[in-house]
Amino acid sequence: MQQPSPESPAPNPGLGALFLAFFGISIMGFGGVLPWARWMVVEKRGWLTPKEFNEALSLCQFLPGGNIVNFGVVIGSKYRGALGSIAAVSGMLIGPFFVVIGLASLYVEFKEIPGIGGMLTGVSAAASGLVVALTVKMALAMREEIVPLLFAVAGFVAVGVFRMPLIASVLVMAPITILYAWRRVQ
């Protein structure tokens, strides 16, 4: 794993390199693709500096869509325009598409075997723990902002507890929270 040296020529990956890099990232990405994306793009290939990586990622997290898909769009377009985005995103999706359908077909085939159902129940209990952890980490990061936290609790009660439709809830909530933020940013 070589650190790119400052005097090495500016990176200029082609469509094939973009496709292969993101294919590798996604197929290695058990339990989250993001750490692998950073390793590949920053450390292995030297396409982005750590600072550029953080900037690209914060934009990707704020825009709708899978963060990692958006990341592929941004990196692809940086080097090869729209075709680069298409190469990166299709490279990222094609491997997991076949793997996940293969796994689901195996499940349908073997679900009568005792233990398989129990195994998936165990995996889903742990997987929901990952989402709980994500919630806790996000809430801790904004623990000093009481009013935004109260907004989040209100939204949680509406969408999580009372199962209100998501689009309508976001359309009600976002203008209020953005207006609040508007009055506070300089």
Partner: protein, 175 residues
Amino acid sequence: MNSDLGKLIAMFAPLSLISIGGINSTFPEMHRLAVEVHQWMSDEEFVRLYAISQAAPGPNLMVVTLIGWHVAGMLGGFVSMAAIVLPSATMTYFIARAWTRFREAKWRKAVQAGMIPVTLALVASSAYILVATVSRGSVLLILVTIATAILTTLTKVHPLLPLAAAGALGYFGVL
């Protein structure tokens, strides 16, 4: 069949554009539409598909591929994946090019800060619905969920490790 493909597109394309903070945030709405509105699957089947997608490598959005596959086979999976990816990816493509120009703009900072509590509300809702659906009142399963949450919050353990351990416990009938 064709009407199913149309319904899948109509379900996932709008979710693509409002999945702020990642696909996880649309989980409550996917669950509502797939289980309650369209009645394509039971609660249990929905959770199984989610578990399979989590056990496989790749982006979180692969649960969408599996919902489409469950409803309309391979083509359904492909169409659903395209529907959840293309709208937001197209939007990202155009916004990313403009966004850096407005780095210091006040409206940009306000939008960015204002969307954080919305995202938190949606992720918390996903967690709540997942835990309620998966555990169905079993104390042991809730303990597995809590243990995984604590472990991955406080330590740098690889997330696959608690998934594998819980899968093994389930396989041998402990849970």
